[in-house]
């Protein structure tokens, strides 16, 4: 089973890219891949409790793990405003994921 890490750097709605990432995450999961979503830069705003955050919560229910970059979350003042189950991580974790833990990384 392939491990796929999807990294999202973009704010939802402002651009169309986050929607594509959700579509790919869903599809990869349907195909049996082990999928994680890592939010960094403006991408962390996607996990706020709102319409888009709900779509991420739906991914979580399908077994997608969701991570958010600590510095990105802090600068945007949303440390305690994310949907349940989002794991806040340091950049070292992201690097480990890319280099070691995941077979594939797609950075959006």
């Amino acid at each position: 089973m392939t491990n796929l890490l999807l990294v999202l750097t973009k704010d939802p709605f402002t651009t169309e890219t986050p929607e594509l990432v959700i579509d790919v995450a869903n599809e990869a999961k349907n195909k049996g891949a082990d999928v994680s979503l890592y939010l960094i830069e403006d991408g962390v705003t996607a996990a706020r409790e709102h319409e888009f955050g709900q779509r991420i919560a739906t991914l979580q229910q399908k077994g997608v793990r969701v991570f958010a970059d600590d510095k990105s979350v802090l600068s945007r003042g949303i440390y305690d405003k994310l949907i349940d189950g989002v794991e806040i991580k340091e950049i070292e974790t992201l690097l480990d994921f890319i280099v070691d833990d995941y077979d594939r990384t797609a950075w959006f």
């Binding site: 750097t9 403006d42 070292e92 992201l94 690097l95 890319i98 280099v99 070691d100």
Partner: protein
């Protein structure tokens, strides 16, 4: 386990206008601590990352931080950087790259991709 592995990081965004160059630096610092070899390929607008004499008043200096990463990368783990010549020529920054940046091209990148364990592009 990560130690001794090789990662290629392609950039396309310029400094200050976008956050990606700061993410590049954070990844570079983490890679050094973990013993990961990093190849930076600066493409399109990101060829301005290595432009000399950046003295931002309110931001950390991307150039100085990048130059520091490259200098430390002379010793293990290695850190190398290539700036795409067509992109530096377009922007007039070919002759003003900070120490440690080599002017090269997409063929160099293709080889880095082939030999690296992983490659990412910071969009």
């Amino acid at each position: 386990m990560t130690e001794g592995k090789q990662l290629t990081i392609i950039s396309i965004r310029g400094p200050y206008g976008d956050e990606a160059p700061f993410t590049l630096l954070r990844l570079a610092h983490a890679a050094r601590e973990k013993g990961i070899t990093v190849n930076f390929f600066n493409y399109l607008d990101s060829t301005v990352i290595g432009n000399k004499d950046q003295v931002p008043k309110e931001y950390p200096s991307v150039e100085q931080l990048f130059a520091d990463v490259l200098k430390k990368g002379l010793k293990k783990p290695k850190t190398d950087a290539i700036a795409c010549i067509k992109c530096t020529d377009s922007r007039g920054v070919t002759k003003t790259q900070t120490e440690g940046v080599v002017i090269g091209g997409l063929y160099d990148l293709a080889e880095w991709i082939a030999e690296s364990d992983k490659t990412i592009l910071l969009g």
